[in-house]
């Protein structure tokens, strides 16, 4: 009894048909992952920071800490 003829053509095409969709899916997943782990949190962090930001309070805290040279702490 003879063996069935093995597949001898289209092997690379078959490999590409298998791997290319995975490649594109992985690439898009990486982009989406970066967007939602880095890009969006950073935008939100800046928005949240300035939403509650009190410039006068922060300035006074920095002034009392002595980091400015043009404005000395109020005790000096």
């Amino acid at each position: 009894m003879s063996l069935p003829k093995p597949v001898m053509r289209g092997l690379l095409a078959k490999r590409l048909r298998f791997h290319l969709p995975i490649a594109f899916t992985l690439a898009i997943t990486a982009a989406i992952a970066f967007k939602f782990t880095v890009t969006e949190p950073r935008k939100k962090a800046y928005a949240d920071f300035y939403k509650q930001y009190d410039a006068v309070k922060e300035f006074n805290a920095m002034r009392e800490a002595g980091i400015f040279e043009s404005v000395r702490p109020s005790g000096e």
Partner: protein, 230 residues
Amino acid sequence: MAHPSQLGFQDAASPVMEELLHFHDHTLMIVFLISTLVLYIIVAMVTTKLTNKFILDSQEIEIIWTLLPALILILIALPSLRILYLMDEINDPHLTIKAMGHQWYWSYEYTDYEDLGFDSYMIPTQDLTPGQFRLLETDHRMVIPVESPVRVLVSADDVLHSWAVPSLGIKMDAVPGRLNQTAFITSRPGVFYGQCSEICGANHSFMPIVVEAVPLEHFENWSSLMLEDA
């Protein structure tokens, strides 16, 4: 200022720098997309002995790998041009300061109302007080009012220098005989550091820039004091 082992940009202290940060994130996302795709394809191609020896052309794939990169480039170019025009908007500055590069220090001139000018030398390491930053501190800082549009005219006295403050998103070449203009608004009060960004000789690394943003009344007090001392 930068901190040790820092990889990303410094925290933004101006609206333009915030936009640049978000643009960088957007572009880096595209870079990761392309890099993942290419790396996967490379690994898939080197882990097989299969090759197509008879392929001559393929219109379909040529169209795909022309249109897709073109689309990606458009997706990068549109936000880039938006920021470029944002940086050039007429912003009606409240204050104009001239920053002159010398070997090896910066000098600042506030000549809108009175003639105020001073030099800004780096504080040598041996003269630093505790809490000060090595190679970044200067004896006189460029003080500006916070949340006010400021125009800086940058030039140089001798060789090329470059006036850069990363957290404000500014870098402008100081060219002898040329006046370059840049403008910015600080979003919050604080002290922002930069360094000369164009090789200018032996002490190129030792002519830093320090911008101090304080409320207007304190800026006015400071400028009055500086004029008295001059």
